[in-house]
């Protein structure tokens, strides 16, 4: 009796004192909870920022700061406004060499300027340089040179080419005459440049001096040392794929390691393929990726980058008015220990008071690395295939999983795998225009490892089918 009284006394006081005690958690606890409960907001914003960054990149690249070749081939500008030095940064710019033909050959015609146009093809020295000549007042009818503003080689008939070569040869031999004559030139028929009168020669002396220095440098160095244009191997790709997401369940993957049956509630246990015991249906998701492409050869391209995947599927379940114990039996560690996890849930798999659709969502960040192989095509249109391996980090773990007796659904984040591995295969048709390469084609993505840790006896593999749309821009 005394003992009982004492027992009650000490138990009561222990409970009373324990209940009085309060502790205040640090801020990181709430931050962790909030991050888990509201993960999508952050990634929606990041996706939006990525989209804005892409738009900004193209705006700056193409509109605000256009590339050098457009400036170099702007034939409507006077020579004085052209850049003073050759544009050698992308190996495709026109090299402009104003020079004069000997006076005896064109008496009374004033200064003649010529242009050596390296049109972006292999130009190694003066023997391949194309020189267009024209008098300011009357361009020769046969000197019709179609020098486009792009990358195409000027089209010159054979007679003109012969004349150009002669003039070029003489111009090189008479380079010193430039000192006395101001430079003026026109390029193509119909594109006449403003002609400077002889009375303005004095005002242009300074410019002429600069040109002379430049021409001498070109003659001595650049014209003979033009390098092969380097192939532009690196490009940046942005891709988007609407995807349809499926999953495959496997229940007997770790059959030999399954837990002792005592961990499962003593009740009728359902056996069979879990794929046939659950009702799930696919749902739409998407993939947003940013990759760098590096051409190893004409056919093979290395691809690496980052991508964000939003995958989801729906589970057709039932809700119950009563809360039930949902026990998940875990795989044992080679018979040493057995474990189970118990949660409380009102979600059932087979039947309940009302039908309820559960939605499992996966927010994944991946770093794909793989190869593209060009199978067919030319410089404009290509057909190819690609494959990648994608180490993946799962951003959220609040997905529903089924209990090991297949009766209930519950959430247990600790059983959801953070790191995973995906593979992807795709075929595409690509169209190249300028620096941009557009591509479209089907893709398939498969999650190699189960969505759950090895201790959870049921394995889930996600599958995504999608149509990938991508655009790649060459990086200069």
């Amino acid at each position: 009796m005394e003992r009982d009284f004492y027992n009650e006394d000490i138990e009561q006081l222990i409970k009373q004192k324990a209940d009085q005690y309060k502790m205040y958690p640090s801020d990181k606890v709430w931050k962790g909870i909030h991050r888990t409960l509201h993960p999508q907001r952050k990634w929606y914003w990041l996706s939006f920022l990525l989209f804005l960054a892409t738009i900004s990149y193209y705006t700056i690249k193409d509109w605000i700061a256009p590339s050098g070749e457009q400036t170099a081939t702007d034939l409507n500008k006077p020579a004085e406004q052209q850049p003073a030095t050759s544009h050698n940064d992308d190996q495709q710019t026109a090299v402009i060499i104003p020079f004069i033909t000997p006076a005896p050959e064109q008496p009374g015609n004033g200064p003649v300027a010529s242009r050596i146009a390296d049109a972006g093809t292999n130009v190694r020295g003066p023997e391949n340089a194309l020189v267009a000549t024209a008098s300011p007042e009357a361009p020769a009818a046969g000197d019709n040179i179609n020098a486009s503003a792009g990358h195409e080689t000027p089209v010159i008939d054979m007679a003109t080419r012969q004349r150009i070569e002669n003039i070029s040869h003489k111009a090189y031999s008479n380079i010193t005459l430039l000192q006395a004559v101001p430079q003026q030139f026109t390029i193509t028929a119909g594109n006449r440049l403003p002609v400077t009168s002889l009375t303005q020669v004095q005002e242009e002396d300074a410019a002429a001096d600069a040109d002379r220095a430049r021409i001498n440098w070109l003659h001595e160095t650049a014209a003979y040392e033009l390098t092969m244009p380097r192939a532009k191997r690196l490009s940046w790709q942005l891709s988007f794929s609407p995807t349809m997401n499926y999953r495959k369940l496997e229940g007997s993957r770790y059959a030999r390691l399954r837990s002792d049956v005592k961990n499962i509630p003593i009740a009728f246990n359902i056996e069979g393929d879990p794929d046939n015991l659950v009702n799930h249906k696919p749902a739409l998701g998407f993939e947003l990726g940013s990759h760098f492409l590096y051409s190893i050869s004409k056919r093979v391209t290395l691809r690496a980058g980052l991508q964000f995947n939003y995958s989801r599927y729906d589970i057709q379940a039932y809700s119950s008015n009563t809360t039930e114990r949902a026990t998940i039996a875990l795989n044992n560690y080679y018979g040493v220990t057995t474990d189970s996890i118990t949660n409380y849930t009102n979600l059932r798999n087979f039947g309940g008071d009302a039908a309820q659709d559960l939605r499992n969502q996966y927010f994944q960040l991946s770093a794909p690395i793989g190869l593209e192989l060009r199978l067919l095509g030319n410089s404009k249109v290509q057909v190819g295939v690609a494959g990648t391996v994608q180490p993946t980090y799962l951003l959220n773990r609040n997905t529903y999983l089924i209990t090991t007796d297949y009766k209930n659904y519950t959430q247990q984040p600790s059983l959801v795998r953070r790191w995973n591995l995906n593979t992807s295969a795709e075929a595409f048709i690509a169209y190249t225009t300028g620096d941009l390469k557009w591509q479209v084609g089907p893709q398939f993505r498969y999650q190699v490892l189960s969505s759950y840790v090895r201790r959870y006896p049921i394995a889930e593999h996600l599958m995504e089918f999608g149509i990938k749309i991508g655009v790649a821009k060459t990086i200069h």
């Binding site: 000490i10 205040y24 474990d339 949660n343 409380y344």
Partner: protein, 208 residues
């Protein structure tokens, strides 16, 4: 309906428990924060009694509240909201101990009969914290059973199911745990040696 008044930054937020519940059902962050603010101090002390250290306790608390918010639609309004939350938190603590294999270590300690308690291992804080710290000195197996039976009110049968042990094991562990706790409290001079009279709680008397 009980009213909540909580300072958030410079704003005072008054929400009824029903409003909090409805907000949490709609996954509203404000309501979730209110619920957390109200119950987290008490629930952290629950976790702390089960955990190895404060860091583990905060991990348990975080995981437990995530479960609370994700399963809040299962709350039936039949019992106390706090009791429902507390049950989830306790189960989270048990799962956490199992997951980290810390609970299984206690299997070896079932047969332990003596425990050396160093004088300096008990903080000199009195009353509630003093008792809680004494409980935490117990081996984890003893501590878990004592927490579940004496404080959380689970039966030995329920404890046996939760911990995957026999009911008789739960009973014997509780008996030993209580004896060990009594020894600690006496050594710490928090209670007096058992006598024919009702025991007196020195610490409590000192605090009054």
């Amino acid at each position: 309906m009980q009213k909540l008044s909580k300072l958030q930054g410079n704003q005072t937020v008054n929400m009824t428990e029903e409003a909090i519940l409805q907000g949490c059902l709609h996954n509203e962050a404000t309501a979730q924060r209110e619920l957390y603010n109200r119950f987290s101090p008490k629930m952290l002390s629950v976790c702390y009694r089960f955990a190895h250290n404060r860091e583990d306790a905060e991990d348990m608390l975080q995981e437990g509240f995530i479960k609370v918010f994700s399963q809040i639609h299962t709350f039936q309004n039949k019992g106390a909201f706090e009791g429902w939350i507390r049950r989830i938190i306790v189960h989270t603590c048990i799962n956490h101990l199992k997951k980290n294999k810390k609970f299984n270590e206690s299997v070896d300690i079932i047969h332990a009969t003596t425990l050396q308690v160093r004088e300096e291992s008990v903080p000199s804080i009195i009353q509630a914290k003093q008792v809680v710290e004494c409980i935490r000195i117990l081996p984890i197996g003893y501590r878990t059973v004592l927490n579940l039976y004496a404080i959380e009110g689970y039966s030995h049968k329920e404890i046996a199911e939760m911990l995957d042990i026999e009911e008789s094991t739960s009973r014997s562990q509780y008996t030993r745990a209580k004896q060990m706790l009594e020894d600690i409290l006496i050594k710490k001079k928090i209670i007096q040696q058992r006598s024919k009279e009702k025991i007196s709680w020195l610490g409590i008397a000192a605090g009054q």
